[in-house]
């Protein structure tokens, strides 16, 4: 994304991108556990739908794009009763995951935001951080430390 100038609108967009990303990356079962049925009242604008997206890579890691292969995704759009619209585009084929992600997106635009952040987003963030740190720590333990051996020729 191109850098955008700071403004209240852009702050909101940045915050929204951040929670939508977190919800998409979350394990479906983790989100479901934090948000058990019955779900808040809502109406589907676009019922959860499974499809694919073509993932692009970059030639040489930094050059022009190329088509790498597809990924399964599920998207959903809904709105709360007389409330804001929520969107979700999440990896995988779990319709309930997309529905819950869209619901949280909508709820985060209401007065319930503080409570939702506390009860859903915060635990998801903690779980993700723990997962990432755990992998990074294991990777770090396999980092090679080189020792330079002094050889005999020089005296």
């Amino acid at each position: 994304m191109d850098p955008v100038p700071a403004s209240p609108d852009n702050d909101l967009t940045a915050a929204r991108r951040s929670w939508m990303g977190l919800l998409a990356r979350a394990r479906p079962e983790a989100l479901a556990a934090l948000m058990p049925a019955p779900l808040p009242l809502h109406r589907d604008l676009r019922a959860p739908e499974i499809g694919t997206m073509m993932v692009r890579g970059r030639i040489g890691g930094a050059g022009a794009p190329f088509s790498l292969g597809e990924i399964t995704v599920t998207r959903a759009t809904l709105h709360l009763e007389d409330g804001p619209t929520g969107h979700a585009l999440v990896q995988g084929r779990d319709r309930a995951h997309a529905r819950r992600a869209a619901l949280v997106d909508a709820l985060m635009q209401t007065d319930a935001a503080v409570q939702i952040r506390e009860s859903i987003l915060a635990p998801l963030t903690r779980a993700e951080t723990a997962r990432r740190q755990g992998r990074a720590a294991k990777a770090a333990a396999t980092r090679v430390e080189f020792f330079t051996l002094v050889r005999g020729e020089d005296k």
Partner: protein, 361 residues
């Protein structure tokens, strides 16, 4: 005259029922779950995702179960399934420089920022069968942890080692790349299209081609500039919202090779690059892909003609897809009674013409 023949329906039904029974195997042995395949046969799952060209570990694991472990059959199932799904669009290009690496090694430069990270590798194992694994219920030793300082953002080796300008630039551009799942492959292909074909190409085929270049059939004296494996965030635009969001994470294997290059009429002497990027943990494939990518670039680098198989774009791209290959190869075992009947007639007539006396006796 063409006579349509029907039949075999009952035989086919019974064959499929027996296939299902054989798939299950001895019912005294516990059944494999899809989750077990996903978690414990991960590298098979990764290969099916890479060559099926669809990142979805659960689907790949299911395909492996259904195919009784025949990975090409599983890839076939994935390719068939993906055609049933609507395409919502394309993601932004993944930025592998931001990869959360679990493995990252360079065979060319020892002291790289972030260090040499071995990760969960088979390298340095003794390749001795471990009979302890035959006993069930043993818990593996817990992997050690250490401070992940410097691992949060690991820059590409090639980028910061190119200060002298001795390595070819990666190039730039943001044009919409071709997609051979939308438009049939046309030759000559540009590098983006070649990389797509190689990324979904057969690992064995690419391995052999890459090996052939090392042995002298289209010499690509390659060094591994960098090999990295890890999670990369995938981001996509949401048109309704007018901004992009992260939609998930994929595991990728990426390989960059550097190749000595004496220069040509158009290019100065420098190190040139080959690139491989593959879904999942598939470093053999990523490495093979980068060698073959480099071999196929001979024309754009102004290298002299050398008729090696790995440098022949038409040969490589037309034969690297194992589903196309197996489809055409395996169809010959299906009934060709009418075709063969005509061949038989032809041979009889030719023989009659060639040896009239004998035929008359």
């Amino acid at each position: 005259m063409y006579v349509a023949v029907k039949g075999g329906e009952r035989a086919i039904d019974n064959a499929h029922a027996w296939l299902a029974e054989e798939r299950r195997g001895d019912t005294a042995v516990a059944e494999l779950s899809v989750a077990q395949i996903r978690e414990q046969l991960k590298l098979s799952v990764d290969r099916v995702m890479a060559e099926g060209s669809l990142f979805d570990p659960d689907l790949a694991a299911l395909a492996i179960k259904q195919a009784r472990g025949d990975l090409i059959e599983a890839i076939f199932l994935i390719r068939a399934y993906r055609t049933t799904l609507p395409r919502f669009g394309a993601t932004l290009p993944v930025e592998t420089a931001t990869m959360a690496v679990i493995r990252r090694v360079s065979a060319t430069f020892r002291d790289v920022p972030g260090g040499q990270v071995l990760g969960p590798t088979f390298d340095y194992t003794h390749r001795l069968l471990d009979f302890a694994l035959a006993a069930e219920g043993l818990n593996p030793p817990e992997a050690a942890g250490a401070s992940p300082e410097g691992l949060d953002s690991v820059p590409h080796v090639m980028g910061f080692l190119n200060r002298e300008g001795l390595i070819e630039e990666a190039g730039a551009g943001d044009e919409v790349p071709p997609d051979l799942t939308r438009e049939a492959l046309e030759l000559p292909a540009n590098r983006a299209l070649r990389l797509q074909a190689l990324a979904r190409g057969d690992e064995g085929f690419l391995l052999s081609l890459a090996y052939s270049t090392q042995r002298g059939y289209g010499n690509t004296h390659a060094f591994v500039g960098e090999l990295r494996i890890g999670q990369v965030v995938v981001e996509a635009e949401i048109p309704e919202l007018g901004f992009s969001v992260e939609i998930g994470e994929v595991e990728l294997s990426e390989c960059e090779t550097v190749n000595q290059f004496g220069g040509s009429k158009t290019e100065p002497p420098q190190f040139t690059r080959g690139y491989g990027l593959v879904f999942g943990q598939s470093e053999r494939k990523a490495l093979s892909m980068s060698l073959v990518d480099r071999a196929l670039r001979w024309k754009e680098l102004g290298e002299s003609h050398n008729p090696a198989p790995a440098r022949d774009e038409e040969f490589v791209l037309s034969h690297c897809d194992n589903i196309q290959a197996t489809g055409f190869l395996e169809h010959i075992k299906l009934p060709h009674y009418v075709d063969f009947q005509s061949e038989l007639e032809l041979i009889r007539r030719l023989r009659a013409a060639a040896t009239p006396e004998q035929e008359e006796e």
